[in-house]
Every structure is written in C-alpha cells, then in structure tokens.
Symmetry: D2
Subunit: 345 residues, 4 copies
C-alpha cells in the first residue's frame, strides 16, 4: 500500500509534536510537512528532541503549505476555523485537534467559549472524534474534530452507565486532575518551574469549556458538574466521577455495564484487581500510551459509585485519539501506530 502524505499544521506545540511521533511509526502514513511560524527552517528535532535521528523534517511556514492527503490541524483555539477556506483546498482529510469544530450547537459554543462561532456552517461536516462513541460515523469520515482531553476522560468514565439508561438519582460530580502539558507549549507565569513544580491547585473550579463536550456527548442529560485541578505531573489525567446508582443496582450491575459497552474496545482497560498495588487507574502508567484505564468502587450504604479513569492527555486525550480516528476512517487496524503500552515503573 502506498503511504498517505500527512501535513501537520502547528507542529511545534505538544499536540502536533505528539502526532508526529506517532505518525513516524505508522506503516501507512508519511509525514511530509510540519509547520511552525516561530521555528521555520529549523529541524523539527530542535523543538521535539525525542525525534532526533528519527526524522530529518524541517519546519516550514504555513504560507508554504502544499497539498497532502491528510491535514492535521494543531493550532491555537480559533485558528482552524479562521483559516479553514485555505485548509480545505489542501487535503481531502482534515483532522482538527483544537476545540473549533467539536461543538455542534452554536449556542452551546457561545456559552462556553464566550463568542459567536466564526464558521457555524462548517460544524455539521465534522464528526466528533471519539471512537468509542462514534465509531460508525468515523468510518470513511474526512473531517474529524478530535475530542478534548479532559472531556474524553470524563466521557469514557461515564458513558456505559448513561448509554444503558441507568436512572441516576443524583447529580454527577466530576473532578479532573490534569498535568501541565495540557496547557500547551507556551509558557506563562504560572508554568514557570519554581512556581508549578509540586503544585496542587484548582485551575478551573466551574465553567470549564470541556463541559460543553460532556453536555453534547453524554446521553440522558443528567446534571453534571466539573472541576479541574492542576497536578505536579507533566502528562496524564486522572478523573473521578461520583455517581449514585438507584436502589436495586449493585456493583455487579456497574461492572456489567462497563463490560458490555467496552467489550471490544482495543484501548479501554477495566482495572479491577484485588491484589498487588496497582488496583486502580493511574496516569503514571500511561505516559505515551493510548489506553484509557477505568476502574470503580461502590459504597453499598449510599449507592455512591466512584468511577476513575486515567489517560495520557497528549495521546488518548489528543494525538493518539486522533490517530485512532484516522485508522477507523481509513478502515485500517485501529491500533496501528498506537502499540506502545506505557512504562513501569
């Protein structure tokens, strides 16, 4: 099979760099262009030193972008929509890693992004890039809006219960513990190492934008609430979702729901071990991998279920997720390029 050519637009950021890392190892892809205004002319390994010796690609300016089979847009919020007229002329398949095309309802977009969507007419053309929820729509898709990282961890934690219509009697409370790479490659006062190292700090108590994705994607419209906390890790999200199951439901039912819904998922692992020290999901084990580990614990007295999910925000939360979508869209084995299992210890 001849390889598809891939152009990564905005390739000096963490999402673009991670897609590049994965694509370099994919049997059917060949990355031919990577753009960065700031680093144009430099080898990509100046910015992504892990790729030293692995590729001789150099950054080019977006103005020099040429046609490709697949365009990966890894631009700051708003840019994909703004320049879309140009992008759609360059490639048949476009995968956007930003939030620009995730939300289908312009009203919902306005509420969370506090501005009118710049190109609402484009929204229907994009499939929301979450394989576990939208696998059938992804087959053959040419425009994919890759899901947000915190949204993905929360959606995958809750989806089985909601899909099966378990009538949850109380509000759902979600807490996401997030690594520093989720804020991107551009520094800020808060990301200065002496300030951020060892920090545990709520960074978005209410009104997190990924709430919009939860509202859109999770079936049943249960009231749910989201708080995001920054952690000392660089990669990784650990999400806990607190739900209450109705009378008559037990942990066995919960387990059954996850098994049923995720039975054939190649990247979801149900973690429910009674021995050893690794009984629950932990993002520490997932750096670089596309797995989403999910576990849960039930309080019989109150019916509370604590659902935990862990991902690498840059892989299953962004670039790996996107590649999984592309594999599905093209009809390839879903795991191609995503074989890395993570490290221990």
């Amino acid at each position: 099979m001849s390889k598809l050519s891939v152009a990564i637009v905005g390739g000096s950021g963490y999402a673009g760099g991670e897609f590049l890392r994965l694509a370099l190892n994919h049997p059917h892809l060949e990355v031919t262009q990577v753009t960065s205004e700031r680093n144009a002319g430099d080898p990509v390994h100046f910015v992504h030193p892990n790729l030293r010796g692995r590729t001789h690609l150099k950054f080019r300016r977006m103005a020099d972008l040429e046609a490709a089979d697949v365009l990966i847009l890894a631009l700051p919020h708003g840019n994909a929509a703004k320049h879309f007229a140009r992008f759609e002329g360059l490639a048949e398949t476009i995968i956007d890693l930003s939030a620009d095309f995730r939300i289908k309802d312009p009203e919902l977009y306005r509420k969370y992004y506090e501005e009118d969507h710049p190109a609402p007419e484009l929204l229907p053309s994009f499939v929301y890039g979450n394989p576990e929820l939208h696998r059938e729509e992804l087959r053959g898709a040419t425009r994919i809006a890759c899901a947000g990282c915190l949204a993905t961890s929360a959606i995958l934690a809750l989806y089985p219960l909601l899909k099966l219509g378990v009538p949850l009697p109380k509000d759902i409370m979600i807490t996401g513990l997030v690594g520093s790479s989720a804020a991107g490659a551009s520094g800020s006062d808060a990301s200065h190492h002496p300030e951020r190292e060892g920090s545990l700090r709520v960074y978005k108590a209410t009104g997190h934008r990924h709430h919009a994705e939860l509202t859109q994607e999770l079936p049943g419209r249960f009231p749910l609430h989201l708080t995001a906390i920054s952690t000392p890790r660089v990669r990784g999200i650990l999400t806990t979702a607190q739900v209450f199951i109705p009378d008559g439901y037990s942990e066995r039912d919960v387990w059954g729901a996850y098994r049923e819904v995720y039975a054939d998922e190649p990247f979801i692992r149900i973690v429910k071990v009674r021995k050893g020290i690794h009984r629950y999901p932990d993002p520490k084990l997932l750096d670089g991998s596309n797995f989403c580990d999910i576990g849960f614990e039930t309080d019989d007295e109150t019916g509370r279920v604590v659902i935990m999910s862990a991902i690498d925000n840059l892989v299953k939360g962004t670039a790996g997720h996107a590649l999984q979508c592309l594999n599905i869209a093209r009809g390839w084995d879903e795991t191609l390029g995503l074989e890395f299992v993570g490290l221990h210890p």
Copy 2:
C-alpha cells in the same frame, strides 16, 4: 516561666518527629524524652536529620519512660488506648496524635474501625483537638485527641456554612488529594519510590475512616461523601468540597460566612485574590506551616460552590494542630512555636 517537660512517645515516626521540631522552638516547652523501640540509643537526628545540631536527645525505649508534664502519644493506631493505664500515671497532660480517642460514639468507632473500641470509658475524658471548633473546651484541657489530617482539611472547609445553618439542598462531595507522608514512616510496596513517584491514584474511594470525624464534628448531619487520592507530593492535602447553596444565596453570602466564622482565627487564611497566579489554596505553599488556606468559587447557574482547603498534613493536620491545642489548653499565645510561614517558591 519555667518550661514544661515534654515526652514524645513514638518519636521516630513523622508525626512525633514533627512535634519534636516544633517543640524545640517553643519558649515554654522542653522536650526531655523521645521514645523509639527500633532506634533506642541512637541520637534522634539519625532518624530526623533536619534536627542535626539542634538537639542532642537520644531515643529511649518506652519501658524507660519517666514522668513528664506533657505526654505526646504518636503511636500506631490502637497503642495509645492499649497502654493508657501506664501513660496516665506519667503525665497530667496527654495529647494523642492517633485516632484512638477521636470518636466519642463507640458505635461510630466500630463502623469505621471495624472493631470494638478497646477502652470506651476513656472517650468522654478527651477533647477533640480542633481549635476552630472546640477552643473553649480546650482551655484547661488535659486530654486532647488530635484531629485527623484529612478530616481537619474537610471540616475547616465546610464548617462555616454548616455552623450558620445554611440549608444545603444536595449531598456534599469531598475529594482529598493527599501526600505520601500521610501514610507514615513505615515503607510498603506501594511507597517504594519507583512505584509512588508521579503517581495519581485513588487510595480510598469509599469508607475512609476520617469520615467518622466528619460525621461527628460537622453540624447539621448533611449527607456527605469522601474520596481520597494519593498525589506525588510528600506533604500536603488539597481538599475540594462541592456543595450547593439554596436559591437566594450568593457568593457574597458564602464569603460572609467564612469571614464571620473565621474572623479571629490565627491560622485560617481566606484566599480570594483576583490577580497573580496564587488565587487559590495550594499545599505547595504550606510545607512546614500551620496555616489552613481556604478559597471558593461559585457557579451562579447551578448554585454549586467549590470550596478548597489546603494544609500541611503533618503540621495543621497533626503536630502543629496539636501544639496549637496545647497552647490554648495552657492559656499561652496560640501561635507560639508555629510562626513559620512556609516557603515560596
């Protein structure tokens, strides 16, 4: 004023070592004995190397314990109650840092500790060691059961709303992010550095023993739920409590409640800043200090309030809290020995 003599029983652990550090700097205390079965005969600085040059004390066996003015019990769970007959003959004032005498109701104790209390007749003689809730009872007290660390962070986060009788319409959800020192000085497979470093792992999803203290101490008996997560930090707890305020209440009312209840507290700081990068509580800033920093954020649309509290689990969560109680019991300035403000960065 002549100094009171202090004996620390179980002084090789983190709680005992931390009380020793604080007491060495207290103008009215003189630590004369520190016990450790394992390290008897060694200088205390072999175990607590920060105290090198600061004290020439050596560990002795518990069997060699002599009378003192104040006995600090820093023993593993169950030992304070078991040996209490001996301890009460040695000192007028006894402060227990363990959980043995915190819970007044033997039934509640049995539920969370899964055994009958070994000496229920002693329970009424102890004051629960939380200055913010029990300052008046602590004055002149000679037996103090120092509050648990996670319990303290959660109680201080919620107390003002509950004390003022705000009618909370929904369940309260508490998530505690806890450092590794909270599990004590004895190693385990899970505390081996390669396993624990960088780990974000739920360690007690439901049924945490400190729930018993919340049940006992928080006014109003609202339904509340507690999940504990281990973090990469050594010290520190960040607790978020998710509450819903009734219609008609606003963030202004919440703020008013905290200001009113904590107005004169020397170790509670309300963190509500509109500028800079330190807008919310962060345990990173509290290592070694006795402060409890409290902040909150309100979601107007849903009435949800995210209350955040941060402490150093070994200071405000254990040894500092205990010293604050002793200062109150003796009628001294409450802040004696607790002046350290923490470090930045």
Copy 3:
C-alpha cells in the same frame, strides 16, 4: 520465520519486566515463561500493570521452568552463577542481566564484589554485552553478560577518545546521576517515597562496582574515578565525564572522534545543537527508549572537556541493551523491538 521462545527468570523485577515489555513487541520472539517465586500463579500484569491487556502470561516458579530457545536471567546478584548448571540445560542462548559474568578477571571481581567468584570457569564463555564495543563477538554468541547501566553510560561517553588513543594528560573524573529504579524493585528505608522524593544524595562516593567494568572495557588504562549520586527521577542516568585533552587537540578533534567511532551506531546520538533548549543530553527525553545521547563542551583555556551521556537505565542500561545484543547475536536488524523514541515533553 517461526518465533524463538523466551523464558524470563526473575520476571517480577524491573529489568525482567522491561525485557518482557520489549520482547512482547518483537517480531521474532515469543515470551512463553516468566518466573517469580513471590508472585507465582498471578498474571504478570499484577506486577507490571502497563502490560494489562497486552499479555495473559502468568508467573511460575523457577522450579517449573521448562526448556526455551532463549533464557533471560534477571535475578539478584549471585543467583545466575549459583544456578547456572540448571540454566544451561534449558536453553542454548542465555543472556544474564546481572553482574555475575561481566568481569573476566576473577581478581578484579574479588576486588569489587568482595568475594571469590563462584564459577570462574564460566567467565570465558560469556561475551560482555555492549554492542558498540563488542559487536563482532556478539554475532552468533549464545552467552551474553549484559553490561551494567552506569558502566554503559560511562563507557559510551569515553570510548571514542580512548579507542583512538588520544593521550589524556590527567585523571578522568566521572559523575553518574542515577534514578531510583536502578536500585531495583525491592523497597528499603531509603526508597520510601517520603524519604527519597526530591532527594539528591551521593550513594556511592567511591568503590562503585561498575568501576570494575570500566577498568575492563575502556582501552588504555587511564586513571579514572567514579562517583554515583541518586536523583529524584525514577528512570535515567546522566553521566558527566571530565577529561583533559592534550595540547594541540581541540573541540573539533573531539567531535571528529565521536563521529568516527559512532558513525554507524543506530542507538547513539551526538547532541550538539546551537539553538533551542535541548542542547545537551537529558535522560528526561529517553524514558523507554534505547538511545544513548552524548554531548560535550570544551574549555579552551584548560583543555577540559565535559562529556555528557544520558540513557534510560532500564533500557539502554539493561533490557534494551540486552535485546540489542540478542538481535546482533541472531543476525536480525539491530533495532527490532527497540523503535520507541521517547517522549517530549
């Protein structure tokens, strides 16, 4: 090609677990047995949770070991030699990850290991497992003693200068900064997370056992000295070697030496960049990868050259190195199973 069967003896440790991770991804290998006395009967993913879903292997006892094509010995020091009679009957190819067969000279062994070698007659049959120095001997080899991790980082840092016979006028000073996983999977007081986290501590100022490997392997017998320091990282070694070049030599000559000697090495990268923030080797970039990154800087005034090398101690320092040796021994592509490039950030 039919796959070779592999048995990993001592597979619950970090070295054995890492070889397992790599072998599971190797096209010509099939791991059929993994032993652990402590965990016999349990799935390997109880101990190596990253392999959950990737293998259904269970640990067995060493007593139940059956024949295989390749035996990987990942046992504590001394055990490979002690049980060798049994092992050699089980497999044609034996790769030992311990120090048992690295040192050819029993006197040198005695000096650093402070005991007589238990089976000196076996020593000549093993090739020292370092591809860069012993590639030709490794071709077709059936007994390989995999090089030590710190030794590997130091040897690779110094080899080109010494091989080319540059007459170094002064002693060579080597400092190795080592992650906690190098001490293995068994906990100790010093590895308890609250003690080790954030620690920077010399752990072997003089007399490090890997010095024996440097003495044996580095050409020219220059006086060299080694100090090892533990760092807050889990994986990774950064080694600096301080050498002095003779009058008339310049940085250009140094660069030339490294280029010449390492020109065709698939896992050595010379890092010498004039732009960006990644100008020198950093083990942070190598977690999980088999690269050894090497850089250097010259002080014209004194002729001092600071050579820096970085590796992942469990990959290029142990299991990856071993797999590279096996690839060479079997005549396969040297990079098979070792394609992972590491992560950024």
Copy 4:
C-alpha cells in the same frame, strides 16, 4: 532596642522575597519598603503568597524609595552598580545580593562577565559576604556583596583543606547540582514546567561565572574546574568536590581539618554518620534553612576525597547568608531570624 528599618529593592524576585520572609521574623528589623516596578501598588503577598496574613506591605516603585537604615539590593545583574549613586544616599548599610560587587579584581570580572565593570572604584568598599571566611571584616561593615549560591556551596566544601595548606597534588573537579529557583523568578522557554520537570541537564559545562568567586576566595590558587547541572528540584544545591590528598594524609586528617576550621560555625554541620539513611548531605533536608551540610568520603587506594556540600540556594546561598552577614555587621547573635531547621520528610 528600636528596630532598624529595611528597604528591599527588587522585592518581587525570589532573593528579595526570601529576605523579606526572614526579616519579618527578625527581632531587630522592620521591613518598611519593598519595590517592584511590575507589581507596584499590589500587596506583596500577591507575589509571595506564603506571606499572606503575615504582612500588609505593598510594592512601590523604585522611584518612590525613601531613606532606610538598611538597603537590600535584589536587582538583576548590573543594576546595583548602575544606580548606586542613588542607593548610597538612602541608607548607611547596603547589602547587595547580586554579583555586581563580589569580584575585587576588574580583570577577573571582565573575564567572567564579559564586560568592563561599570564602577570599579566602588569595589574596595564592599566586603565579600561570606561569614565563614570574612567574619572579622564583616563586623561593623556597611557594604556587603553577598556571595553567589553555587560559589558558596563550593567554597565551603573546599575551604578547610585549602586554608590549612594541604598540598593537593591534582586538579580539583567541582560539580554543582542546582535547583530551578537559582535562575530567578522570570520564566524562559527552558523553565516552562513541561520542559523542566524531571530534567537533568548540564546548563553550564565550563565558564560558570561563579568560578570567578572561587578564584578570588579560595586560598592557594589550586587549579579547579566547575560544571553546573540543573536538577528537578526547585531549591537546593548539592555540590561534590573531587580532590586528591597527598601521600601520608588520611581521612582522619580530612576530618580534622573540617572540625578545626568549622568548629564554632553556627550554620555548618559536618555530616558523617554510620547508621540510618541520612549519611550524607542532601538539599532536600535544607529547604528554608541556613545550614550548609558538609560530608566526605575517602578512597584510600587513590587518595581521592569526595567532599559533598548541600545548601538551600535561596537561604545559605543568598538571603539567609545576607542576613547572617547583617547580624555579624551589627554585632547581633548570628542566628537571629535564621532558626528554621528545615523539614523531614
């Protein structure tokens, strides 16, 4: 005793903030002014959140600076010298935390700072701020150039051997492992948390500016070499100095030298313990404290001595050191305001 008024110029950086923290706890000092151009008008606790509730000081502009008893200059390199005419009119006592007045020889300054000194005529008026070497000159001093942090750790490691005139036969090799706060409060690409976290990277292989201080301060002019490596810590420096003692000297002589020279030093602790896990200096134990811990280990075969010293770069390396100098200059107890011993764990 009435308090001396203190003005901190450049108080939003880490050095100025640390001096403020210490001075707030000093019985004879009252900080009355703190300047920051960027934060003028804001409470100092917006920038130094650990001081919340401890002071109500606000930042002012340098233009609004008024007279004070003591001026602490904590400005970026070059600014103290440039504005000195103004500063000397404002206070009798001036302590500069920058490098501007440390080097007495303008030629030496030019070599390492690569420019002519802007005010060489001022250099003789400053005492080099290192109490262990210059205590007598510091008594009554009114101009103090506080020593550099890495220089301090190296000087204190080597001083006894050199002062006693031990004839060292070989070059001295110094390696400094440095925390991220040493680079100051201003962010850079390299200090962005995802890049710096967990990083072990040489940042100054040769030509470190603090070499100038070693050249000036260490007796005997032995050839010495310095390499600086950044570590994952925020605070702290661990320095190893590799020296060779002449034939006939033993570890006992080394120990004797350190005991003799540092016998009465309140902030130097010789760490030489045969038991437990804290046998060598470790900056982890020194955060916030003014101690310099020094240890050593000797290789009898080669005469090599590994000397290790650990400090908190912001305390004994900067602000604490400065306060110790001020205490000496004023004839106060040298330890005033510097009582904090550091934390364990």
